[in-house]
Symmetry: none
Subunit: 218 residues, 2 copies
DNA sequence: CAAGTATTCAATAGTTTTATTGAATACAAT
DNA sequence: ATTGTATTCAATAAAACTATTGAATACTTG
């Protein structure tokens, strides 16, 4: 194999991988699957995609070694293929929100809006934990909670949330958090819980921002 | 801003970034610029692109905050925008050659073809350099060496390698490196030198990977 | 100022990607 | 077997991307 031939093969292959990531619908699917496996139906419900379209995008992701699938009964469950990809994806996100002005601005505006709604800031959280009887709920997958979490939090992964409802009091104030403003888990938790009549708000930031604060304190 | 609106803005922006990377010609340009700044002409000479086409791709990269340019006399020099992007790019490459079977195979076949199988890792290099009886040889073009290089290396560009053979001892162990797994220069150097009876191996990675390590140490 | 060089711009045709539509499977439950 | 449900397949038109071409700029040098 000559040098030119080799380069072409490598750059074509690399471009193929990047192309698989170069679509907003597929990125949303990836973000969703980063939080745990989901059936095609689950993805359709959480996005504005049609069944056929979601399935098509999933095929693209599968053919590019980004997701894997398993079949159970008549359902097909998709998930991120491995932790290496997850780590790469998180690196991309981190770069994008830190270095791309446009995205940084969008994210900050969203944070402002969250504050304007009734989300709780890290500062407020601190005083609330001192004074009141609040329940701090980490809704990320349990593996992430076990790795590290905001001190005082309990782990209630999204997929277990519905079965655990009876364990919580409707008198107690609940604060839900996940990975940050980009993560949709906390929003979902707030929606589900408030529909059921709980007093629940979300933390406007998430675990990574809390961690950074802790490090800054030292 | 509603949740849906926010998501669309974020995923569209993210997809825009990935699209800028989703093209083999642009990836080759990035790989080249990762080794130091280059004029448009420099890029045209090293690739099979036309002037207009190279310029167009550079505009795309510039509009997506991947490269920056400066003008000197009538020349425009392009370079990677910052170390954060370089680190992200390295992560992508590392993921691709480790996790994508097709690319891994292509890369390994290339390495086999160049008989560079017993390569040296960056870790090994560090301990070898302590023992002092090793010659670290940078076989990239001298411009790239002058821009920056692994500390302790000497510059022996490929095209000068054959005329300089008499300067080296066959007793001394030689380690050749270039730009990383994609770069074929080191493989060629190893082939040429071992044919002549020198004790030579290649570094399995290259300058960009070393640079990233240095940055991580701080 | 004129000529030369490096780079960019603008238009375009060919190619690829995308969402949509309407079937076609594959499997489970009855 | 028949029905119902979840998913995939196949075809297609619209949109986006790409390389090519032939100018147009911008800057330097003489």
């Amino acid at each position: 194999m000559q040098g030119r031939e080799f380069k072409d093969a490598m750059y074509d292959g690399l471009a193929k991988l990047m192309k698989a990531l170069a679509n907003p619908a597929r990125l949303e699917i990836i973000e969703m699957l980063a939080q745990g496996e989901k059936s095609v139906e689950g993805i359709v419900q959480a996005t504005s995609l049609t069944f056929a379209n979601a399935s098509q995008h999933l095929q693209v992701l599968k053919n590019n070694n980004i997701v894997k699938s398993r079949k159970e009964k008549q359902y097909v469950f998709y998930s991120i293929i491995n932790d290496e990809f997850l780590s790469l994806y998180q690196h991309v996100i981190k770069y994008a929100v830190q270095e791309i002005a446009e995205l940084e601005k969008t994210l900050n505006r969203q944070r402002e809006d969250n504050k304007a709604s009734n989300s709780v800031s890290l500062d407020e959280l601190e005083t609330m934990i001192h004074n009141k009887n609040v329940l701090l709920m980490d809704v990320r997958p349990s593996a992430e909670f076990e790795f590290d979490h905001i001190s005082g939090a309990i782990s209630v992964p999204m997929k277990e949330l519905l079965c655990c409802l009876k364990d919580f009091s409707k008198e107690q104030e609940i604060i839900a958090y996940c990975r940050g403003p980009f993560c949709v888990l906390a929003d979902e938790a707030v929606r589900v819980l408030s529909e059921k009549g709980f007093k629940v708000r979300r933390l406007d930031e998430g675990y990574p921002e809390w961690k950074i604060r802790q490090l800054e304190k030292n």
